[in-house]
Amino acid sequence: MVIINLSSMRNGQTGKVTGVGGGFGLRRRLEALGIRVGVNITKVSGATRRGPVVVRAGNTTVAVGHGMARRIRVEVV
């Protein structure tokens, strides 16, 4: 078990969200789209250095900017 951030996950990899850094506003917005502590998310696409990251949580697919992706901490196996 390691904790990394969403941007450094491999495409296709699944993990459990352990925390969202940054402000309350960002946390609220991510939450509203189903990305919050305790849920499993799968990275669909996105480079590790820059550019948007696409992630699936349940039936929802969301694209977030790279800065946001770096603030989402994920526990992967």
Binding site: N11, G25, R28, R29, E31, A32, L33, G34, R36, V44, S45, A47, R50, G51, P52, V54, G58, N59, T60, T61, V62, A63, V64, G65, H66, G67, M68
Partner: protein
Amino acid sequence: MKILLMGNPNVGKSVIFSRLTGANVIASNYPGTTVEFTRGYMRLNGERVEVIDVPGTYTLEPTSRAEQVAVDMLKEAKDSSDNIVIDVVDATNLERNLNLTLQLLKQDIPILICLNLWDETKHVGIKIDVDKLEEILGVPVIPTCALSGEGIAQLIKRLPDAKSKTYEFDEEDRWSEIGKIVESVEDITHRHHTFLDRLGEASIKPATGIPIAVGILAASFAIIRFIGESLIAYLFEPIFEHLWKPVIIRFSAILGSGGFIHDILVGKLFLLNSETEEFISGIVQTGKMIAGNSVVVKTITGELIPAEVTIDFTQSMGLLSTGLFVPFAMVLPYIIAFYLILSFLEDSGYLPRLGVLLDNFMHRLGLHGLSIIPMLLGLGCNVPGALATRVLETKRERFIAATLMAIAIPCMAQIAMIFGLVGKYGIKGLFPVFGTLFVVWFLLGIAMAKFLPGESPEIFVEIPPYRIPNIRALLKKLWMRTHWFLREAIPFVLLGVFIINVLYSLHVIDFFGRIFSPVVKGVLGLPGEAVAALIIGFLRKDIAIGMLAPLGLSIKQLIISSVVLTMYFPCVATFAVLVKELGVKEMLKSTIIMVLSALLVGGALNLILR
């Protein structure tokens, strides 16, 4: 009594609104389609009730102007005790939709829940126990499929049962409450990835997505041109040439072939050599009408030749000739073709994916990927394009996006006219026009990103699932937009033609032509009469481009005037919306950028092109 349709974005609120009120609003498969509220009316127990379609929002803490509208509407609706909210919920995403539902249940307004996209739950393997959900939440829950209309009658029947504050919970525990609810009402069966799921992933990963995007855009362009040209060549032009022309020529004779009224209605007449079918110029004298519209004319060389008095739809400039031909036979076919393809792309769910792919690129222009959607809408008509900038988060982004669109994105009406006028030169004529506009769009974006203070926020968007567009919904949308075009365009085009005639007969055009000649002739290399097109361009761009037709411009002049007419100023309808969206001060700033860059680019083209 007022009924508000609220819910997360892209859950089908607008389709339900159309079902309830019979009023038509645009619905598309991406979040942020509705950015402004729309009012409609329905009958409820013999009473006229106002229904409002509200922009979608994820929370009651707005992050964009569109979401702000939603929150403001709710606040306003809470003032009166008999207003209610229909909370539209995406049944395939119950958990996160309940987040907003629970927030709404804390408000002081009765709600009921419309569990929409019910048909889709079968496809994704979700079962929801509706009765149990209703029992837990304490408000009516009605499953619906807005597209087919299933459940809508039931929804209307249950409206009186709407209740407020039936579900008490501690704000701290919101998500665990939601978890518990979902746990007890939802049953998910595992399902295999479908073809559309796989396509969904392939089209968003850069390696496969970029080739797919290039393919889709190239195919869209080719199809639009093909449909547009075919409609013109096989339908609209024949109708005008063979059916309408004889009527006008007869009418012209009745009006006495001349005079002020005649010239405004019919426009200029031309003489066609009956044998060679060519236009005759340099006539000394026309003889008596022999029969119908045939005459004998005497040319400069003293020759007597049989000729026909006729009109030319692109040059006569009468209300009934050019005034109808331009909107119906030159622009409408392309409007139909463009909106057919755009609607297809919208309803499939492709647009946000394109936004993600272009995200890196758009950041150079100080925007994020989602701003490609206002740009694409702007290609149809700048008015909805300008409104769609509301989905962007900051003022700076909205300014950049709106300015770029107004300057460098010609609307379909204008593009169609450019095709009609410059298209005969093929790539040699079209490439310099659209290539220049693209370069302007790009460089100006880079400049604004650099010089305007502030950061561009990152993309943050829900990617909807791919869906096969529903043909009836698609055709309805096409009809709405075509209808909207006809309603907006025809009066303005006719007004434009009327004004041109009046200005010409009062010699106002000559006057302005002389005043602006240093700029128009000196800088842009255009004849003085081109001023007329620039004046009418304030009103509408399509007829403005059309006015270039009789001027006998060279290919270089056509290119310059097409580019300048696009850039120098938005049409009045777009201008009005931009003032409303940006505010007077920002719009003034934007206008200065437009005029200056139009002169700069037009002047540069005049120097570069040969």
